[in-house]
Symmetry: D2
Subunit: 304 residues, 4 copies
């Protein structure tokens, strides 16, 4: 039997001793205010035992991690038709100046890069009467937690400065792969990305993906097949241009966000979330990546 608490405690210590904690994302002004020293980790196993270390109950902006949840909701709403508008291939593009164009003929490479997630947002805006409210309820329902909320300051901040996302949305529109107005879709998208959670809430939410689609209260929102496919996408596309490296070093499906959060899990075993706002050059939480490497090295648990 693995002593998760012991491992988490030692990971937290190692994190606090690390000199170089990475660089906080500053392109969203609101995110730049966070203290780089923060580190938290939380793990929930399949039996719903909980283990924590560090600031596991401090909230942060989950940012791109929300893309898994919007994809999940879109799949529930329109099923496999999602894949007519977005592909499932890793982006693999190391060249920043091309990254906006991870579309071929208007089809984004996958739903976890920005242009792909904007297409998913467009689907939700089309299908939902009150997109922002209904998406939030959806997430609260998965997590069984009504306190989860948008951070309106972050949403507003990104709306003012997210020119690259405006560029991507307009490009999608020019290809006919955006049915609603750019402003409406991005208003939803920026709210979605502003979701604030702590590590505990994050594991409560992603418990579903680790547990064949069943939430903690045993309710289900996706078929087993849909869950497996979302998990596959997380493994191959969840960590920007570092997806291969993460699969290679850690061997778990998961997703990171520029707010410094990472969530990852071993199907049928455990789900873990880390938070540390300093990023490595590829845009993933520096201490979070190290923590997950350490966790899988010490437990020798991976999907491979």
């Amino acid at each position: 039997m693995i002593d998760f608490q012991h491992i988490l405690t030692s990971i937290n210590e190692a994190a606090s001793n690390e000199k170089d904690k990475g660089k906080i994302a500053d392109y969203i002004p609101e995110l730049a205010k966070v203290n780089v020293d923060n580190f938290g980790i939380h793990l929930i196993d399949i039996q719903q035992n909980n283990f924590s270390a560090g600031k596991s109950d401090e909230k942060f902006s989950i940012q791109s991690i929300s893309k898994v949840l919007s994809l999940s909701m879109a799949l529930g709403l329109i099923g496999e038709k999602v894949w007519k508008r977005v592909d499932v291939e890793p982006s693999g593009d190391p060249f920043n100046h091309l990254s906006l164009l991870e579309l071929e003929n208007g089809i984004p490479r996958n739903p976890l890069i920005n242009p792909g997630a904007i297409v998913i947002a467009d689907i939700l805006v089309s299908k939902l009467e009150h997109p922002k409210e209904e998406f939030l309820s959806y997430v609260q329902n998965i997590a069984n937690d009504d306190t989860i909320a948008y951070d309106l300051g972050v949403a507003k901040s990104e709306k003012r400065t997210g020119f690259r996302n405006f560029a991507a949305a307009n490009l999608l529109k020019s290809y006919g792969n955006l049915n609603n107005d750019v402003d409406i879709v991005l208003d939803f998208y920026f709210h979605q990305c502003s979701l604030a959670m702590n590590c505990v809430q994050l594991t409560n939410t992603f418990f579903m993906f680790m547990n064949n689609g069943k939430c903690r209260r045993n309710n289900t929102l996706l078929t087993i097949s849909q869950v497996k496919r979302i998990n596959a996408i997380m493994l191959t596309c969840g960590f920007y241009d570092e997806a291969g490296e993460f699969a290679f070093e850690v061997g778990l499906p998961g997703k990171s966000g520029v707010g410094g959060g990472i969530v990852a899990f071993l199907p049928n075993k455990f789900c873990v979330a880390t938070w540390s706002p300093g990023l490595n050059p590829k845009g993933n939480s520096k201490l979070g990546m190290l923590a997950l490497e350490k966790l899988t090295t010490e437990t020798e648990l991976s999907i491979f």
Copy 2:
């Protein structure tokens, strides 16, 4: 002595006999209404003798041809500082899906592609109190013709559908190479592109570039060195991805627009404008390109 009138008449006949007149641009709905059979040509020589054939006095939307005029005005206003924000290299990019990104680190390849012209528009918006009015006056002054005007229907039409330009402007903004609001810059840009002229007015306007910077009334707006440089840019960058082909087949500096207009000139000799709305696959007027090839073949005049 060359009999220009004879040559123009025979070009006009050849054009009307041509079966395949190209395809009208339909991405700006307002432009799609024009009849594909139209053809006009006008030539003015250095002594201000005029020669015409076909519908040389029918107005059309000059579109990208206006980029030469906004560049000219920007150079007059801030001089060589223009080149800190836009480069002078041919775009050379044959791949449509990359064409938005003809920027390196936010610097567009040249001022005659859309992202480059949007940067020039941003310069004018910054420097002018009433950008649209002052730019129009500038063009009227060059041409010595107060009847030149914007086509507000075209400007409005492009504003509603120009998602690719919104994408480019937002991308420039994300790189910090756009000082004003995207909407304000593009409002100016769409007006600029909507300028309506006929072939006669076009040659009257570009007479200045053929004549070392002196307009028909002998007033000057640019230094000789600035004129020569704009002319060089027209030769290397004036015809989208067909710039090399045009220099190769025709050997004159010039500029084309998706409205079907082309203007070209031999320095110190003549300036010629053609109009025919059907485009070839590279986006240049099909009959216009053939007309200019024929003109330089028959006259054996070229800069080479």
Copy 3:
């Protein structure tokens, strides 16, 4: 308990009823001679029970599947130093005309694309006294099967026509990431790719990767950590530009070759190999991909 034999038999039937069996690779003339109707499948489980259907004992050229074996040998020889010369990111490049350049500053994106495998070949040529002989022995040892051999006709055929590989090798050389002569490295590489196996031999060989590095006779050649990493690379990079799709649809690590072979496995459970020479447009065996989809759908087994 899963009835593998029943599933394999039904897969074989479905395959023989399929009208469109894909297109045989014709760029290596020797490969073009095979009959497109061939289909075989073999599965070995962790207890070494064996199940077969179709032409599971007919040999074919394993081609790119060999890249996993050369990578494995190189890792055994020089360990983690391999990763200084090749990266581990999915290639993700959908544009054929760029695919040669899946190198950044001479570092190929991963060891399972051609330029990456050529670097691995260079490592083996440097480290082995008799590279071709020793690599063959290595593979025979893993499979516990002395009858595995190169197909010299295929090796020769590719040597005469593999201009794209000569281009890649020379490009690597120009970046200083090839220590030996291009001709010597490619001679080894073409032999490596020409390895002929049937489905049974393929599962016997890859049993090691399914079984934490232990071969069927319990001998070990790699550390557990090395095995997990190779498995991660197979999942993210094993199926050309279809790697994401394969993870999404099948959910197993594996590797395909243009000879029409595919091998895939679920760690600690089973290893399966299919062969059918007709390829889909992405370059993977058409019937093989369908077979593996069917296998994981019916068994509901995947790493996710």
Copy 4:
């Protein structure tokens, strides 16, 4: 009347006072042996008056300048059929790591980049019985100078180290746009590039392009139309990624080589050659570019 001698003398003085003389190309070992301080310039006008300054009679490797001469010979041999195998668009590619692939479906962007010149070499190898001898005679005939010769040391040096050219040739071969063996075509190509000339010989050779196709002795090898087209290609493609900049700053057609030579001309007026082996970051002779800028600024002569 312009005092060319005065201008050349002052250019030579300015060159010798320049501190930063650029960086000598070192990828061809033989070229790296030259002294960076060398500078020479020679000008011949249409009346065949000659003006010199600096080391105008010292020989150097003309390298890429030879591409204009091989193109010229190929055009003479097979005429416009050349354009089925190579395009005439500027390369415009600022990204080094892509530059090898300035081919679309095997058609190089223009005949003055390496892949394009290799296709031209292939044409000559197909059409000539003794390619190296006949090409040399062709050049000697244009220049009316039997002393022009290959530098066999340079040819040999590049053969040993020109991996990037081997890559390009193999890639062309894979697309079916190379009819002869890679080794044979490149042996010719490396000899062609190794042609050694001094500035006087270079102007004597390119006199033909300045003079509507007539060599100094009045013999002709090309039609006027062919000459104009080659001149257009030199203007748009003659200076690597700096072609636009050169047209913009200098306004003359011309060609540069990594040996530090540049030749340029104003049709019907003069032809000038400079040599200085230090290159700027774009790969053109640093002092040569400055010299030509100064020449056209002081004479106010340009094609625009």
